[in-house]
Protein backbone atom coordinates (compact mmCIF):
# COMPACT_ATOMS: atom_id res chain seq x y z
CA UNK A 1 0.00 0.00 0.00
CA UNK A 2 1.62 3.31 -1.03
CA UNK A 3 2.30 5.72 1.83
CA UNK A 4 -0.06 8.62 2.20
CA UNK A 5 0.34 11.90 4.09
CA UNK A 6 -1.45 11.78 7.45
CA UNK A 7 -3.12 15.00 8.52
CA UNK A 8 -2.46 15.28 12.28
CA UNK A 9 -5.61 17.36 12.86
CA UNK A 10 -7.97 15.31 10.69
CA UNK A 11 -10.62 13.10 12.24
CA UNK A 12 -12.56 10.65 10.10
CA UNK A 13 -16.18 10.77 11.30
CA UNK A 14 -18.08 7.58 10.63
CA UNK A 15 -21.71 8.44 11.41
CA UNK A 16 -25.20 7.62 10.21
CA UNK A 17 -26.50 10.26 7.82
CA UNK A 18 -30.10 10.53 8.90
CA UNK A 19 -32.36 13.29 10.11
CA UNK A 20 -32.68 11.89 13.64
CA UNK A 21 -28.91 12.04 13.94
CA UNK A 22 -28.57 15.71 12.87
CA UNK A 23 -28.09 17.15 16.35
CA UNK A 24 -25.36 14.64 17.21
CA UNK A 25 -23.73 15.20 13.80
CA UNK A 26 -23.53 18.92 14.64
CA UNK A 27 -22.29 18.11 18.14
CA UNK A 28 -19.40 16.09 16.70
CA UNK A 29 -18.50 18.91 14.30
CA UNK A 30 -18.57 21.51 17.09
CA UNK A 31 -16.77 19.32 19.62
CA UNK A 32 -13.94 18.50 17.24
CA UNK A 33 -13.65 22.13 16.10
CA UNK A 34 -13.42 23.25 19.74
CA UNK A 35 -10.52 20.83 20.17
CA UNK A 36 -8.94 22.38 17.05
CA UNK A 37 -9.43 19.19 15.08
CA UNK A 38 -10.96 19.04 11.60
CA UNK A 39 -13.76 16.56 10.82
CA UNK A 40 -13.75 14.57 7.57
CA UNK A 41 -16.69 12.54 6.28
CA UNK A 42 -17.54 10.31 3.34
CA UNK A 43 -20.21 12.71 2.02
CA UNK A 44 -19.49 13.48 -1.60
CA UNK A 45 -17.71 10.23 -2.27
CA UNK A 46 -19.62 8.72 -5.21
CA UNK A 47 -20.80 5.12 -5.26
CA UNK A 48 -19.30 2.40 -7.38
CA UNK A 49 -16.10 0.44 -7.37
CA UNK A 50 -13.89 3.34 -6.44
CA UNK A 51 -15.97 4.36 -3.40
CA UNK A 52 -14.38 1.82 -1.11
CA UNK A 53 -10.88 2.84 -2.24
CA UNK A 54 -11.68 6.47 -1.55
CA UNK A 55 -13.12 5.72 1.88
CA UNK A 56 -10.00 3.76 2.74
CA UNK A 57 -7.81 6.61 1.45
CA UNK A 58 -9.75 9.01 3.66
CA UNK A 59 -9.26 6.80 6.74
CA UNK A 60 -5.54 6.55 5.99
CA UNK A 61 -5.19 10.32 5.64
CA UNK A 62 -6.76 10.99 9.06
CA UNK A 63 -4.77 10.72 12.28
CA UNK A 64 -7.91 9.75 14.21
CA UNK A 65 -11.27 8.20 13.50
CA UNK A 66 -14.53 8.18 15.42
CA UNK A 67 -17.10 5.50 14.70
CA UNK A 68 -20.61 5.98 16.04
CA UNK A 69 -22.43 2.67 16.24
CA UNK A 70 -25.69 4.13 17.54
CA UNK A 71 -27.68 3.03 14.48
CA UNK A 72 -27.81 -0.70 14.81
CA UNK A 73 -31.59 -0.96 14.48
CA UNK A 74 -33.35 -2.13 11.32
CA UNK A 75 -34.26 0.79 9.07
CA UNK A 76 -37.83 1.86 8.40
CA UNK A 77 -37.87 1.13 4.67
CA UNK A 78 -38.23 -2.20 2.91
CA UNK A 79 -36.25 -4.38 2.80
CA UNK A 80 -35.69 -3.95 6.56
CA UNK A 81 -31.97 -4.21 7.12
CA UNK A 82 -29.46 -3.05 9.71
CA UNK A 83 -26.80 -0.64 8.43
CA UNK A 84 -23.43 -2.23 8.06
CA UNK A 85 -21.51 0.80 6.76
CA UNK A 86 -20.44 2.03 10.18
CA UNK A 87 -19.12 -1.31 11.53
CA UNK A 88 -17.53 -2.01 8.13
CA UNK A 89 -15.63 1.29 8.12
CA UNK A 90 -14.67 0.70 11.76
CA UNK A 91 -13.15 -2.60 10.62
CA UNK A 92 -11.12 -0.79 7.96
CA UNK A 93 -9.84 1.71 10.54
CA UNK A 94 -8.99 -1.00 13.10
CA UNK A 95 -7.02 -2.95 10.49
CA UNK A 96 -5.21 0.18 9.36
CA UNK A 97 -4.36 1.12 12.96
CA UNK A 98 -3.06 -2.42 13.64
CA UNK A 99 -0.66 -2.06 10.73
CA UNK A 100 0.24 1.58 11.50
CA UNK A 101 -0.03 2.02 15.24
CA UNK A 102 1.70 5.39 15.25
CA UNK A 103 -0.38 6.95 12.50
CA UNK A 104 -3.96 6.06 13.36
CA UNK A 105 -6.07 5.93 16.52
CA UNK A 106 -9.75 5.01 16.52
CA UNK A 107 -12.62 5.49 18.96
CA UNK A 108 -16.05 3.90 19.12
CA UNK A 109 -19.08 5.84 20.32
CA UNK A 110 -22.52 4.52 21.16
CA UNK A 111 -25.75 5.85 22.59
CA UNK A 112 -26.39 2.95 24.94
CA UNK A 113 -23.87 1.24 27.16
CA UNK A 114 -23.44 -2.53 26.66
CA UNK A 115 -25.39 -2.54 23.34
CA UNK A 116 -22.27 -2.37 21.12
CA UNK A 117 -20.73 -5.21 23.08
CA UNK A 118 -23.77 -7.29 22.16
CA UNK A 119 -24.02 -6.19 18.51
CA UNK A 120 -20.25 -6.32 17.98
CA UNK A 121 -18.80 -8.55 20.69
CA UNK A 122 -15.34 -8.39 19.08
CA UNK A 123 -15.10 -5.01 20.81
CA UNK A 124 -15.01 -6.65 24.25
CA UNK A 125 -12.10 -5.18 26.15
CA UNK A 126 -12.32 -1.89 24.24
CA UNK A 127 -13.24 1.33 26.02
CA UNK A 128 -16.33 2.72 24.35
CA UNK A 129 -17.50 6.34 24.53
CA UNK A 130 -21.15 6.31 25.64
CA UNK A 131 -22.78 9.66 24.83
CA UNK A 132 -26.37 8.80 25.72
CA UNK A 133 -27.68 10.23 22.44
CA UNK A 134 -27.32 13.87 23.51
CA UNK A 135 -25.20 16.74 22.18
CA UNK A 136 -23.60 17.49 25.61
CA UNK A 137 -22.94 13.74 25.91
CA UNK A 138 -21.02 13.74 22.61
CA UNK A 139 -18.98 16.74 23.76
CA UNK A 140 -18.25 15.15 27.13
CA UNK A 141 -17.00 11.99 25.43
CA UNK A 142 -14.85 13.96 22.98
CA UNK A 143 -13.32 15.77 25.95
CA UNK A 144 -12.54 12.47 27.61
CA UNK A 145 -10.94 11.14 24.42
CA UNK A 146 -8.87 14.25 23.62
CA UNK A 147 -7.26 16.89 25.80
CA UNK A 148 -5.93 20.12 24.45
CA UNK A 149 -2.88 20.80 26.57
CA UNK A 150 -2.88 24.56 26.14
CA UNK A 151 -6.56 25.17 26.79
CA UNK A 152 -9.18 22.47 27.13
CA UNK A 153 -12.67 23.81 26.26
CA UNK A 154 -15.47 22.98 28.66
CA UNK A 155 -18.74 21.28 27.68
CA UNK A 156 -20.83 24.44 28.43
CA UNK A 157 -18.48 26.45 26.19
CA UNK A 158 -18.90 23.89 23.42
CA UNK A 159 -22.68 24.03 23.87
CA UNK A 160 -22.58 27.80 23.45
CA UNK A 161 -20.84 27.31 20.09
CA UNK A 162 -23.37 24.60 19.20
CA UNK A 163 -26.32 26.92 19.84
CA UNK A 164 -24.72 29.77 17.88
CA UNK A 165 -24.02 27.40 14.98
CA UNK A 166 -27.63 26.20 14.94
CA UNK A 167 -28.78 29.81 14.52
CA UNK A 168 -26.72 30.12 11.33
CA UNK A 169 -27.83 26.83 9.78
CA UNK A 170 -30.89 28.11 7.85
CA UNK A 171 -28.68 30.56 5.92
CA UNK A 172 -26.06 27.96 5.09
CA UNK A 173 -28.67 25.42 3.99
CA UNK A 174 -30.73 27.97 2.04
CA UNK A 175 -27.69 29.22 0.13
CA UNK A 176 -26.65 25.73 -0.79
CA UNK A 177 -30.24 24.89 -1.77
CA UNK A 178 -29.82 21.81 0.41
CA UNK A 179 -32.67 19.83 1.85
CA UNK A 180 -30.49 18.30 4.54
CA UNK A 181 -27.26 18.89 6.42
CA UNK A 182 -25.78 15.74 4.92
CA UNK A 183 -24.55 17.29 1.72
CA UNK A 184 -20.88 17.86 0.97
CA UNK A 185 -21.09 21.63 0.55
CA UNK A 186 -23.21 22.08 3.67
CA UNK A 187 -20.83 19.90 5.66
CA UNK A 188 -17.81 21.98 4.56
CA UNK A 189 -19.52 25.29 5.32
CA UNK A 190 -20.96 24.15 8.65
CA UNK A 191 -17.53 22.85 9.69
CA UNK A 192 -15.90 26.13 8.71
CA UNK A 193 -18.56 28.15 10.55
CA UNK A 194 -18.01 25.94 13.64
CA UNK A 195 -14.24 26.53 13.46
CA UNK A 196 -14.81 30.30 13.16
CA UNK A 197 -17.21 30.32 16.13
CA UNK A 198 -14.70 28.36 18.21
CA UNK A 199 -11.95 30.91 17.43
CA UNK A 200 -14.28 33.78 18.34
CA UNK A 201 -15.81 32.29 21.50
CA UNK A 202 -13.08 30.05 22.87
CA UNK A 203 -9.96 31.83 21.69
Amino acid sequence: VPRRRVDPQAVFLNLPYDREFESLYLAYIVGLSALRLVPRVTLGIPGGERRLDRIFDLVRSCRYSIHDLSRVELDLHRPFTPRFNMPFELGLAVAWAKLNRASHTWFVCETKSRRALKSLSDLNGTDLQIHGGTAPGVMRELCSAFVRVRRQPSVPEMMEVYRALKRGLPEIQARAGAASLFEPRVFAEVSFAAATLCRRLLG
Binding site: Q9, R36, F146, R150, G168, E171, A193
Partner: protein, 73 residues
Amino acid sequence: MAQPIKLLSPGLSLEQTAKFLGVPPARARELEALVDDSLNGGSTMSQRVAPRNKATKHVSKGISKRSRAKKAR
Protein backbone atom coordinates in the same frame (compact mmCIF):
# COMPACT_ATOMS: atom_id res chain seq x y z
CA MET B 1 -10.12 3.64 31.18
CA ALA B 2 -7.80 4.67 28.33
CA GLN B 3 -5.72 7.81 28.74
CA PRO B 4 -6.97 10.75 26.65
CA ILE B 5 -4.88 11.83 23.72
CA LYS B 6 -2.95 15.01 24.42
CA LEU B 7 -3.26 17.56 21.65
CA LEU B 8 -0.20 19.77 21.66
CA SER B 9 -0.56 21.44 18.28
CA PRO B 10 -2.27 24.85 18.16
CA GLY B 11 -4.31 23.56 15.21
CA LEU B 12 -4.91 25.01 11.80
CA SER B 13 -5.54 28.68 11.14
CA LEU B 14 -8.95 29.63 9.75
CA GLU B 15 -7.45 30.09 6.28
CA GLN B 16 -5.89 26.65 6.43
CA THR B 17 -9.15 25.17 7.74
CA ALA B 18 -11.11 26.69 4.83
CA LYS B 19 -8.60 25.31 2.35
CA PHE B 20 -8.64 21.91 4.02
CA LEU B 21 -12.44 21.77 3.92
CA GLY B 22 -12.63 23.07 0.36
CA VAL B 23 -14.44 26.31 1.22
CA PRO B 24 -13.57 29.02 -1.35
CA PRO B 25 -11.91 32.14 0.20
CA ALA B 26 -14.79 34.45 -0.75
CA ARG B 27 -17.38 32.15 0.84
CA ALA B 28 -15.13 31.73 3.90
CA ARG B 29 -15.16 35.50 4.36
CA GLU B 30 -18.96 35.52 4.05
CA LEU B 31 -19.26 32.79 6.65
CA GLU B 32 -16.95 34.67 9.01
CA ALA B 33 -19.16 37.74 8.57
CA LEU B 34 -22.26 35.64 9.21
CA VAL B 35 -20.74 34.28 12.41
CA ASP B 36 -19.74 37.76 13.59
CA ASP B 37 -23.15 39.10 12.72
CA SER B 38 -24.82 36.31 14.63
CA LEU B 39 -22.59 36.80 17.68
CA ASN B 40 -23.25 40.53 17.72
CA GLY B 41 -26.97 39.88 17.72
CA GLY B 42 -27.21 41.43 14.25
CA SER B 43 -29.39 40.37 11.37
CA THR B 44 -28.47 36.78 10.78
CA MET B 45 -29.83 34.98 7.78
CA SER B 46 -31.97 32.93 10.13
CA GLN B 47 -33.90 36.13 10.69
CA ARG B 48 -33.91 36.84 6.96
CA VAL B 49 -35.78 33.61 6.26
CA ALA B 50 -38.28 34.58 8.95
CA PRO B 51 -41.32 35.26 6.71
CA ARG B 52 -41.86 31.54 6.16
CA ASN B 53 -41.58 30.85 9.89
CA LYS B 54 -43.83 33.78 10.64
CA ALA B 55 -46.51 32.46 8.32
CA THR B 56 -46.33 29.01 9.90
CA LYS B 57 -46.54 30.56 13.34
CA HIS B 58 -49.59 32.59 12.34
CA VAL B 59 -51.43 29.54 10.98
CA SER B 60 -50.62 27.41 13.98
CA LYS B 61 -51.90 30.05 16.37
CA GLY B 62 -55.37 30.02 14.81
CA ILE B 63 -57.86 32.79 15.54
CA SER B 64 -56.68 35.24 18.15
CA LYS B 65 -58.74 36.02 21.23
CA ARG B 66 -59.14 39.55 19.93
CA SER B 67 -60.64 38.58 16.56
CA ARG B 68 -62.83 35.98 18.25
CA ALA B 69 -64.16 38.73 20.53
CA LYS B 70 -64.69 40.97 17.47
CA LYS B 71 -66.70 38.25 15.71
CA ALA B 72 -68.80 37.67 18.80
CA ARG B 73 -69.65 41.34 18.81
